[in-house]
């Protein structure tokens, strides 16, 4: 892929001349909603949709960050473990502060989460760029490290949040503003900010340029090291935001928190229309991808067609069919 073909869709987007990869994920989402309604009308009930979209928020927020990493030609396998690690560190920090600071422990914990995410992302970024290690291997390494750290911190058990903070923090996952669950609002804010960054700023274009062709980007005077490192930092911050929403849901971190989230995140990004080899990122498509994944899982439970033993196979098949439909209708 050359830099010319890569920049062409970006220009079209600005003229609101949408390409198939921009709308494809949303058509798939609409189709899924219609099919779902015929399988079980309960599928489209407000409560069910609110539940499903709220719980897709973690994957959506992390996947928005992953769109930057993948668009710039990288990959991050550590996001699930990182989410667990940040969750654990945040809860321990808040519990430590709780006796003195009471409710203030929560915003302090959130700040701690963001700092931890930023540093984790920076570490990943520097290992990949300055250390020049393949992203797959580098983040496979940090994935193991973060997972081991949360296991160590929890002694293999759970790190529960202090009882005095539990009810105060609970609304961040379970609360609503004007009827919309708070995690959904947070995802929207994150997505709008990310879309602005990716489509309207110099950095966003550098990101796509580096992902499309590292050499061409370098000859054009773009710092590949800086662009990729910043992408990993953005990813780290997104993981931290997801962790902030996650803590109040079950109020605990365990060694199995965030297990295999990295695969869901990468799947959401690819369903959303961003190529795994890098190039232009599709932020809104990514979010649609995350919601599609969660809807499929929901539909598996609400329908009675599929044996519990075959659920994973049907989910896999639906994802492949969705991608094939996108490919062949271009």
């Amino acid at each position: 892929m050359t830099i010319m073909t890569d920049l062409a869709p970006a220009r079209r987007f600005r003229e609101f001349n949408l390409t198939w990869s921009d709308v494809g994920p949303f058509l798939a989402l609409a189709a899924l909603l219609i099919v779902g309604f015929f399988i079980n009308p309960e599928f489209l009930s407000a409560t069910n949709l609110a539940n499903v979209i709220t719980r897709s928020a973690f994957i959506a927020i992390i996947a928005v960050g992953a769109t930057f990493v993948i668009s710039s030609g990288g990959l991050d396998l550590s996001v699930g473990s990182m989410a667990a690690f940040i969750t654990g560190v945040t809860i321990m920090f808040m519990n430590r502060l709780a006796p003195g600071a009471q409710g203030w422990a929560i915003p302090a914990g959130m700040a701690m989460a963001l700092l931890a995410g930023l540093l984790c992302g920076l570490a990943n970024g520097l290992i990949v760029t300055v250390g020049r290690i393949e992203p797959f291997i580098a983040t496979l390494g940090t994935m193991g490290i973060f997972r081991a750290l949360i296991t160590y911190l929890s002694d293999g058990g759970t790190i529960p949040i202090d009882r005095s903070l539990r009810d105060l923090y609970r609304p961040v996952y379970f609360g609503t503003v004007a009827g919309i669950p708070i995690p959904i609002l947070i995802s929207i804010v994150v997505t709008v900010a990310a879309a602005f960054l990716l489509y309207k700023t110099k950095y966003g274009r550098e990101c796509a340029a580096v992902g499309a062709s590292e050499d061409v980007a370098r000859y054009s005077g773009i710092s590949v090291v800086r662009t990729r490192t910043v992408a990993y930092v953005i990813q780290g911050v997104c993981v931290a935001i997801a962790a902030i929403c996650y803590v109040p849901r079950l109020g605990a971190a365990t060694p199995t928190t965030g297990l295999l989230w990295e695969l869901q995140v990468i799947t959401a990004v690819v369903i959303g229309g961003t190529a795994l080899r890098g190039g232009k990122g599709h932020i809104w498509g990514t979010v649609a991808g995350a919601v599609i994944l969660e809807l499929i899982a929901n539909l598996m439970v609400l329908s009675d067609f599929v044996s519990e033993y075959l659920v994973a196979a049907v989910q896999g098949a639906i994802i492949i069919i969705a991608m094939l439909v996108q490919r062949f209708s271009k």
Binding site: N40, E42, S45, T47, N48, N51, R55, T151, S154, D155, G156, G157, T158, P160, F174, R249, L250, G251, A252, T254, P255, T256, T257, L259, A297, N298, V301, L302, E308, Y309, V311
Partner: protein, 317 residues
């Protein structure tokens, strides 16, 4: 924190034991090989194994209990080789990662003259073990089912959350299905949530959306029950009379002690069975008490009256 310090002390003491082996040759060595703490239940096994080692080492100066945790089956095989190379083992207490890979290495330890105690998961060749200690997964399901049949008057609609497709999961489900047989309790739905709180939370939300009326929920493990309870709390539904788990997690046993209305009972599959195994092995070495055979721990109903026996507030599980 405490258990890490204990662990450090244990590592130190076992290092010292290797160094001082020549001087204390008459000490009998019990090696304990268990999986590393990677989720709630195994973290409980590590906690109770270390507690047993500390207690026995303090009580019997003639015995040295060495605990070694391994993060995988391959690592456990290496750990067995290291343990037998560094000491003459008088006994080995092992909770094998997998039956297939550990059978031959354990046989080698036995051939060198050690007393073999196998815990929880059996080896492929049961003639290797001198003592076998395990819980009863079928009873975990059956005891819970009997309680529901009794309390719901033999009639009602249930939803069930399964774990990871394994023998353990199959046995619990089979015990449960046997337990409700003959009553009018009906399982509306049964899906896998992989013994994971998050997946259980999602699955329970979906069950609640799908079924307007549910009398009771059974999650065949306490990690999942935590997710289930959170989903019920969010829905503000009042039709669910019982939400039960299994395994003996301290948070759930605490609920039983506190007299929770929705979770009034618990069924144990206790990680502390490792402690039973270590003590029995020590009894054989020190007191010449005959222990060869099989010990199957029952899964009795834990209610408010006996819950204290199963409550370990300092354990991570």
């Amino acid at each position: 924190m405490l258990s890490r310090n204990q662990f450090a002390a244990l590592v130190l003491s076992s290092v010292l034991a290797i160094g001082g082996h020549a001087f204390a040759a008459e000490k009998k060595v019990i090696a304990v090989s268990i999986p590393a703490a990677d989720h709630g239940w195994t973290s409980g096994v590590v906690y109770h194994a270390q507690a047993a080692a500390k207690e026995i080492n303090a009580a019997f100066p003639g015995v040295e209990v060495i605990v070694k945790t391994s993060p995988s089956a391959a690592a456990q095989v290496s750990a067995l080789e290291d343990l037998s190379a560094g000491h003459k083992l008088d006994a080995l207490v092992i909770l094998p990662y997998s039956s297939e890979e550990l059978t031959t290495p354990v046989k080698a330890v036995k051939d060198a003259g050690a007393f073999i105690t196998v815990v929880d998961r059996g080896l492929n060749d049961p003639t290797i073990q001198d003592l076998y200690v395990a819980g009863d997964n079928i009873a975990v399901g059956k005891t819970t089912a009997k309680f529901l049949v009794d309390k719901l008057g033999g009639k009602g609609d249930l939803v069930v959350l399964r774990g990871i497709p394994t023998v353990i999961d199959d046995e619990r489900i089979k015990g449960f299905q046997d337990g409700i047989k003959g009553s009018e309790l009906k399982v509306l739905d049964m899906q896998y949530a992989h013994w994971n709180s998050d997946e259980a939370f999602k699955l329970m939300q979906d069950y609640l959306a799908k079924y307007p009326d549910i009398d009771a929920v059974w999650a065949n493990d306490d990690d999942m029950l935590l997710g289930v309870l959170e989903a019920i709390k969010q829905s503000k539904r009042t039709d669910i009379k019982f939400a039960l788990g299994g395994n003996g997690m301290k948070d759930i046993v605490k609920k039983v002690i506190d007299g929770d209305a929705v979770t009034p009972i618990e069924t144990p599959y206790p990680p502390s069975m490792i402690k039973t195994a270590i003590y029995l092995t020590a009894a054989n070495l020190i007191g010449q008490a005959p222990v060869r055979g099989s010990v199957k721990l029952d899964a009795p109903l834990i209610t408010k009256s006996n819950a204290k026996e199963y409550y370990f507030p300092n354990s991570p599980f």
